[in-house]
């Protein structure tokens, strides 16, 4: 079947061709922002880092692993976060906790020997937090995650076990 092409674009009118109206409209917008900022002191920017924005409690920032009263991580290396992670950024190696450092007995006999999160791969979807049966892995409110090298983007267990108050 032969295809029939129809041109639906319209030619410019005379008033559109000289652009005068559009230029005046644009200048009015600039004037509005100038008056708002210079005379009425209404700003859209903030003086970061002296002033900080408040984010919602549900904001998903840098990961952390919650710790119990003995400062032992709640994680039992069940691999559920690694299983559910769509970005495959979590790498866990499990092991047995030494009984000398384990006042909780059988509840915490399994421990993560290694728990690495590659923050560059992470898409901050929060699935790991949802999958965790022990409420161990969580996403904090921390949003300042700028780094100077790729190695720093690899969060290890020592970093993840940092003390976080509330949601950080």
């Amino acid at each position: 079947m032969a295809t029939k092409t129809v041109n639906v674009s319209k030619p410019y009118t005379w008033s559109e061709k000289i652009y005068l109206l559009a230029i005046v409209q644009g200048l009015l917008i600039t004037l509005k922002h100038f008056i708002n900022g210079f005379f009425l002191r209404k700003h859209n920017t903030i003086m970061y880092p002296e002033v900080r924005r408040e984010y919602s409690d549900r904001f998903r920032g840098a990961h952390f692993i919650s710790i119990d009263r003995n400062k032992t991580e709640n994680c039992t290396a069940c691999y559920l976060c690694q299983t559910v992670c769509p970005a495959e950024c979590i790498t866990i190696v499990a092991g047995e906790r030494e009984s000398a450092h384990n006042p909780d007995g059988v509840k915490k006999e399994k421990q993560p020997v290694k728990f690495d999160i590659d923050a560059l791969r992470c898409c901050f979807c929060g699935f790991c937090e949802e999958a965790c049966p022990k409420d161990a892995i969580k996403l904090s409110g921390k949003y300042e995650m700028a780094i100077t090298s790729r190695e720093e983007a690899k969060y290890d267990l020592v970093y993840l076990k940092r003390e976080v108050k509330g949601r950080g």
Binding site: C78, Y79, G95, E96, V106
Partner: protein, 475 residues
């Protein structure tokens, strides 16, 4: 006489003496009847009450595992009474189960998990505190097995296994009801059998866990492929559990003619040799007194030079090579280089005999019978010697022969650094091959059963099958 019972309205044939559950299994309807204490390799106990079904004209629900099927029986596995009974059993089992699935190694292949998803109640009416065995919360029964008594559902499969199958009577139940507890018959001896890994296989929950696999991997990550165990001449059928080319465990694969449902611990742990860090996985060539890694082409050219310049070459093939490999080597080498070869096989374990009443054999190589079927004579003594070049072909299982009066050795197959070190500086070329789990082929076991297998995992190194290796020896 026609033997028929009806399961959920469908006629099913059975053999005289079958129970309802066995008849259902025979007809491929085993999944309709959940069970804990029943295991096809063990005697019937009828203690868990999970397999109860409704049989017409019988007033109460019957246990499918222990009720003998009779002609004309009408069985219902899905009636409301049955489902209510199953939910009740599940609720009782879960009253004391710790539900520590995140920590438990059985999670993902646990029968309690599976049955609870299918038949369990959503809620529990048990509000009291769960029973906790403080002493046996985690107890090492032996270097191989850890017991977590809190997870136990008292099916007694393990007790029946030690009593009836391996006959070591290591385990027994003490106390009754709420306090029922699994203990060792002799605390000092611990578990004594060589089939301890089977305890963790048959345990429907995570009470028995195999220490070698404990906390290594979650079961749902593992790919399973069937293979044949090459740790002894029995050739037990196994399934190889691996992820990304790394083997994490061997599990038995049912074969009525060879191993039934079981394998020994030695075979179960033999995957460590395949995954050995010192295994040679790159072709090596002797250069200035030491072995340096090289390319296949260079190694092949070196072998070509060694064989063409020699007048007498002795080839020793380990009895861990497959039939196909033995035949190929015997045919292709004379074809390429002429009649200067003398072939023999080498086992290194002496006369084969049974070590116990179950599976273990003295000959720790898989294919001694295959070597005689391929018309290979066993090496006289343990010595190879009086030749220009010796070619030793071996796949990690047979013994290492001694070499005398021969300065040039070519090594092919699965070897570790240590095994090659025994030849000193006489080794000229090392050509890595494929282990049993990585290749396909045929073994003939001690009873004459011929079993062929396919690759279960991909080889991560540069090792090649023997026909590819020989193709580098250009004429």
């Amino acid at each position: 006489m026609c033997n028929n019972i009806k399961i959920d309205g469908e006629a099913v044939e059975f053999v005289q003496g079958d129970t309802i559950l066995q008849a259902a299994e025979r007809a491929g309807k085993g999944h309709l009847i959940p069970r804990y204490c029943y295991h096809p390799g063990l005697p019937i106990a009828g203690t868990c009450r999970m397999c109860t079904v409704e049989v017409e004209k019988m007033p109460k629900l019957m246990t499918a595992c222990s009720t003998i099927a009779t002609d004309g029986m009408v069985v219902n596995t899905k009636s409301e009474r049955v489902l209510k009974s199953r939910a009740g059993v599940m609720e009782f089992l879960l009253t004391n189960h710790p539900l520590d699935c995140p920590v438990c190694d059985k999670a993902g292949e646990c029968e309690l998990q599976d049955n609870n998803y299918r038949y369990g109640p959503v809620t529990s009416s048990f509000l009291e505190e769960k029973r906790v065995y403080s002493k046996a919360a985690t107890k090492k029964l032996s270097p191989n097995i850890t017991l977590n008594m809190n997870r136990c559902v008292h099916c007694e499969r393990c007790v029946r296994f030690t009593e009836e199958v391996v006959k070591s009577c290591d385990l027994m139940m003490i106390n009754r009801g709420w306090h029922k507890e699994l203990t060792l018959s002799d605390e000092k001896l611990g578990l004594t059998s060589n089939y301890q890994g089977c305890l963790s296989d048959i345990c429907p929950v995570g009470a028995h866990t195999f220490n070698d696999f404990r906390f290594k991997k979650r079961s749902w990550f593992l790919e399973q492929y069937p293979s044949v165990c090459d740790r002894c001449s029995k050739g037990c059928n196994i399934s190889v559990h691996s992820e990304n080319g790394v083997v994490y465990r061997f599990k038995p694969h049912y074969n009525e003619k060879v191993n039934g449902h079981w394998i020994c611990d030695e075979g179960r742990l033999s995957y460590h040799q395949v995954m050995d860090a010192t295994r040679i996985v790159k072709p090596l060539l002797a250069h200035e007194g030491s072995l340096k890694s090289t390319s296949w082409e260079l190694a092949g050219a070196a072998v070509n030079y060694l064989i063409t310049s020699a007048s007498k070459v002795k080839v020793v093939i380990g009895t861990d090579a497959t039939n196909e490999e033995m035949k190929y080597i015997q045919a292709s080498l004379p074809d390429k280089f002429g009649k200067k070869f003398e072939f023999s096989s080498y086992c290194g374990y002496g006369e084969d005999k049974k070590l116990d009443h179950m599976l273990m054999m003295k000959d720790k190589t898989p294919n001694s019978n295959g070597a005689s079927a391929c018309k290979l004579n066993h090496l006289d003594g343990d010595l190879v010697g009086d030749c220009d070049v010796a070619i030793l072909i071996r796949y990690g299982r047979s013994g290492v022969p001694q070499v005398k009066n021969c300065k040039k050795i070519i090594i092919i197959g699965v070897w570790t650094q240590k095994e090659i070190g025994s030849f000193g500086t006489n080794v000229e070329v090392v050509l890595p091959g494929l282990a049993t789990t990585e290749k396909s082929g045929t073994y003939i076991n001690c009873d004459g059963v011929s079993q062929n297998f396919s690759p279960a995992i991909a080889h991560l190194g540069e090792g090649l099958a023997v026909n590819s290796i020989i193709s580098f020896f250009k004429k």
